[in-house]
């Protein structure tokens, strides 16, 4: 595997953005140890992405576009990313997704929608999530209770029209939240289920929680 040619660009980008998972990621990472060109491509891609977003965040902070924090605020990295989205929209003369706070657990930062999904004790049905097609990206957050046996988490999302997404190797952030990010265009209205499982250090996988939710556009 060599990244001296642009043909590897896609895989490098997939790796840097966390879209390369499982065995493919393992193979790719092992190749980093023996392919200096590939390693350089990953470093450059990562630097380019960080640099662009840092630049956008700098400009965004000049515009003071960030809203007040809500209880379920996204982590700092998401805020920076959201800020960068806002400035990017300005730079490219695209319309900026209006900043507005909705429910505390469903907030739009620039044009990234951040939604906290948690089961409500005693509720007859799962949470209702309203997704706006005008926010191009959505971050779904799931609270988890720390388990000393858990090495990582996986989330299997299923929904209408055979919708299925699998996220592996997730770690809870400092707020005890698992976050997954997707284009909002991927979601159709309907009933969804998130199955969260834990992977113990001994390799044992067990179901942690199932959460059903309704999605409305």
């Amino acid at each position: 595997m060599s990244a001296s040619e642009p043909r590897c660009s896609e895989q490098v980008a997939e790796y840097v953005t966390g879209r390369l998972v499982g065995e493919a990621r393992e193979r790719f990472e092992l190749a980093l140890f023996s392919d200096p060109d590939l390693l350089a491509a990953v470093e450059s891609e990562s630097a380019l992405r960080s640099g662009f977003r840092e630049l956008a965040a700098e400009e965004s902070s000049k515009l003071s576009v960030l809203p007040q924090r809500s209880r379920a605020r996204p982590s700092a990295s998401w805020l920076a990313m959201a800020a960068s989205f806002a400035f990017g929209a300005v730079l490219t003369a695209l319309s900026v997704w209006p900043l507005r706070s909705r429910l505390p657990n469903n907030t739009t930062y620039a044009n990234v929608q951040v939604a906290l999904l948690e089961a409500t004790r005693g509720a007859a049905s799962g949470p209702l999530l309203t997704v706006s097609a005008a926010a191009p990206r959505i971050v779904l957050q799931f609270p988890v209770v720390n388990s000393s046996d858990s090495a990582s988490y996986s989330i299997a999302l299923s929904g209408p029209a055979l919708f299925a997404r699998q996220f592996d190797g997730l770690l809870a952030d400092g707020d005890g939240l698992l976050s997954v990010e997707m284009p909002t265009a991927d979601f159709a209205a309907g009933s969804y289920e998130a199955r969260i499982s834990t992977l113990a250090r001994d390799g044992t996988r067990s179901e942690y929680q199932r959460l059903a939710f309704e999605l409305r556009r």
Partner: protein, 198 residues
């Protein structure tokens, strides 16, 4: 041979196995070589798993401490797969660190810690980030084709899908990849020239 066996043809020894053998034999230069050879790939792997650059750097150090200890004691089962061992050790440490941080967090402290972490990049890291954004600004300024500027911005900042960009700008995916490849190469060049790390 005293036991009646004749030695077979010398098996080809991998560079990793040779390095492991030298470290097990007490060769300090080999230890330095291990660190030099594998710091960058380890950092790349760890940066995918931990958000903070400083934390990734610390974990690289911890990985070497663990692995060197094992190598010095000759307790590596497959020395020719040293890269795999380094990678797995780094991942295990990252997972352990994540769990440790979560245990230390209390609800009362969570917000404060979050804010501290937000500000914890430190002046050096902040300077590096500013330098990096400055180089990207320069890179953008150097692009003579406006389409390439828009394309890079929309790809890296707005996360616009590659296929969508190719359709919109009537580009082949190969052309798109070439634009990215050139940008990466130029940024690498600028970073090396200005001694900026990421």
């Amino acid at each position: 041979m005293p036991n009646g066996f004749e030695p077979g043809p010398a098996a080809a020894i991998s560079p990793d196995a040779a390095l492991a053998a030298r470290i097990a034999g007490g060769d300090r230069a080999a230890e330095s070589e291990l660190v030099r050879r594998y710091t960058r790939p380890l950092l790349a792997v760890l940066q995918q798993r931990v958000r903070q650059h400083e934390a990734a750097r610390d974990l690289v150090q911890e990985t070497f401490i663990v692995v060197l200890e094992r190598l010095r004691e000759g307790r590596i089962d497959e020395p020719d797969r040293l890269a795999g061992f380094l990678r797995q050790t780094a991942i295990n440490l990252a997972i352990g660190e994540g769990r440790k941080q979560q245990r230390q967090r209390t609800d009362a402290m969570g917000e404060q810690i979050g804010e501290l972490v937000d500000e914890s990049a430190g002046p050096l890291r902040q300077l590096e980030r500013q330098q990096l954004s400055g180089l990207v600004r320069r890179l953008i300024g150097e692009l003579s084709v406006e389409r390439d500027r828009d394309l890079l911005w929309r790809h890296y900042v707005l996360d616009t899908d590659k296929d969508e960009l190719c359709r919109e700008y009537a580009l082949s995916t190969e052309h798109f990849d070439r634009v990215l490849h050139r940008a990466r190469a130029r940024l690498r060049e600028l970073m090396e020239k200005n001694n900026v790390s990421h």
